[in-house]
């Protein structure tokens, strides 16, 4: 029965202490959390870490669940913020870490064909500023509308549209360089 219950209702019940609802909710969304975390960090290991940390924090985060947005929107916001947190820590503590750079290391360990695709992705992502990366992770990776992505990132739909056009510009520039 719980399997058919909408996310929002599950979240509300979970926030009120319903254990089964919470378990269903986490089980249903773990893969999504992991996927977005991967898109934001570019590293499987960090995505796992991040997903685990988010799961661990979710019970207390849910206390702030007000049912005002779609659950996935709310959840993505949590994930994006967690990824920002991670980035900031890496920036302050470890100075230069920008998750996607990990691909350079991973690349050497992987089979050539896979590596090539990944390498392109890593290069493309490294080209983009963190906010542009967040934006493409949501719009292209999670297939959200620009309006939804705007809600998650706390900016307007217009800003998202502008950012996507920026992304296109950068990719075009990259393709030009590749052709030269």
């Amino acid at each position: 029965m719980l399997m058919d219950t909408p996310d929002e209702m599950l979240a509300t019940h979970a926030a009120q202490g319903d254990r089964a609802a919470f378990a269903t909710l986490v089980g249903r969304h773990y893969d999504r959390i992991h996927g977005l975390a991967w898109r934001l960090t570019g590293s499987q290991a960090e995505a796992e870490d991040l997903a685990q940390d988010i799961c661990a924090a979710l019970p207390s985060k849910l206390r702030n669940w007000r049912g005002e947005a779609k659950f996935t929107t709310w959840l993505y916001r949590v994930v994006v913020n967690a990824a920002h947190d991670l980035r900031r820590r890496q920036a302050t503590r470890a100075k230069a870490a920008q998750g996607w750079g990990d691909w350079e290391i991973a690349r050497q360990d992987e089979i050539a064909a896979q590596a090539e695709a990944a390498d392109w992705l890593a290069q493309a992502m490294t080209r983009l500023s963190p906010e542009l990366r967040d934006t493409v992770a949501l719009v292209l990776g999670q297939e959200m509308t620009q309006a939804e992505a705007g809600v998650v990132l706390g900016v307007s739909e217009g800003t998202i549209a502008w950012r996507m056009s920026e992304v296109k510009k950068r990719l075009r520039a990259m393709a030009r360089e590749g052709a030269e």
């Binding site: 996927g35 890496q90 920008q98 706390g154």
Partner: protein, 671 residues
Amino acid sequence: MSDDLDDLRSALQAAPAPDGQAKARAMALAMENFDRLQGTAQAPRSSEDRHQAAPPNGVRRMFHYLTSRPALALTTSAAALLIGVAVILPVADLRIGKPTAVVAPKEAPVARKAGPVAPQDEAVPEPTATDDLALTAEGDASASVALAEPVPEPMAELDAAPPAAPVVGMAETEMRLRSEAPMPDGAMGYVAAPSGLAPEAGSAPAENTEAFANAAPNPVKVTAEEPVSTFSIDVDTASYAVVRSSLTSGILPAPEQVRVEEMVNYFPYAYPAPENGAAFASTVAVMPTPWNPGTRLVTIGIQGALPAVADRPPLNLVFLIDTSGSMDEPNRLPLLKQSLMLMLPELRPEDQVAIVTYAGSAGLVLPPTQAADRAAIVSALDILSAGGATAGAEGLELAYQVAEGMKAEGEVTRILLATDGDFNVGVSDPEGLEAYVAKKRATGTYLSVLGFGRGNLDDAVMQALAQNGNGQAAYIDTLSEARKVLVDQLTGALFPIADDVKIQVEWNPATVAEYRLIGYETRALRREDFNNDRVDAGEIGAGTQVTAIYEVTAPGSEALLNDPLRYGAAPATEAAEGELGYLRLRWKAPGATASTLVETPITGREPATTETRFAAAIAGFGQLLRGSVYLGDWGWDQAIDLALANRGEDPFGYRIEAVNLMRLAKGLSAN
């Protein structure tokens, strides 16, 4: 060229499948935390309960990559290097409970000092810093900050923003307005990542983001070469509480987390009280070293006077509380609230309390209120809730501003900064912040720092702020620790009786060939600083004790580590025959600018007491944790026996707790 977008889309959608075990682990953890939150499980446990084997960390690999391939990093868009400015993360601390890794404090500022990286990249029209702010989906400030971008419908954004915090004072509005202004160039320094240029990249922490302030243990010094030892007293206790929190969660603290003098100074000692109205009394004790029969320990104990509690001046307290998202853990904001509630009954009706919070924006939650109006204070504390970002610097500015307004002649004004250590300075670099605090010190307002939670504790910044702000840094992991810091020692913690207390010992080469100061590595002063009243040092609070221990070796002893010099025979002064050394103390009355000098010879015949022996046991404990090379075969059993034999009265049970921690450490170090 929508091809590119499509490529990017398909590449991004090909996310690797999550690992089944990782998923199971994460879900188990989620359920565990869920149960705990519902109160169905036992009392809140420390977040250190998790010690999963962490997968190899991306950061470390990143460094490997950066150091080997710096060129590629440099081609990365400069804008991409400006990361996470004042962000702002409502999410609860997500890196909690990882095995502790440590950043040597000396290194941290290097990155922070790195000059701004100008966003010169071809097409980067957007102001990255403010844009990052805009990403803080939950913070109330975020929506308005987003205006920095070319946004067609700014009003719509404002509407979409979640409601602001329930209590918004005038000051908060003002602060928020200020935070909307574009940041000055200098603000970028903190976030500009120096990329592959970081020379110390190899020493990057593996897992968590705690940073601890420490230096290499003091070496043995040869008296003939360097007869004078100078340091500032240290009244912090944070290190002991951090050690305790590690041990009780089953992890040996890393050596860098251990500051021996803070462990020793954690305990109250029954030293003789000062007489004749003196601000403090010093007691010297000399005893054989427990861990080395060839040397002696010289313990210098300083006891601050305890003025009659009834005579204490009125107190102005500004609680500066971190309500950022990461404080949303049982052992953080809730513990902090309980701690402050515990303290309220200790205040007198005429004392004043104000509360400033900092998160997405800084705000005055409670304007200065007489302690008599306890209901108002309690209800202000009650409604504090975690969420939003951290803007520590603004909060601090506001707190000093509020404190300034509360000041009156003959009153003591102190800011108590409570944070989980993620003191996100946002608009200025930590060094600037320290300098700011040091400057504010001159206004007579004291600043103490209370640390909460683990995993993110920026011990280095805490230390630096408290040290520069003439206050103490304490780490609060349990309600009983809060009681110790805020209630039992309220007078000491809040009322300074002597400022800038410096200790200088001149050793007599005729009787002491070698000496070693145990601990105080982070408090060393230059010899000439002793007489320079402009050089800052530690404060002693009313009724508190400070202990410093030297291990000294007599000439001719088998325990000497250095060979005597062939041509360096030391002529002893006639007058000082038999003396071990000469103790000089300098201190200032609170608020005074000129110091007073107190001098005492160390004769070597001063008797040891239970108190000094217990201090020695704790010094041994700390050195064992630091892996000291000076202890020989002396180990946990001996430390435990020594501490047990010298427990004394121990009315609060602090000492027996230390013994139990030693037992834990013994078990853990056996593995």
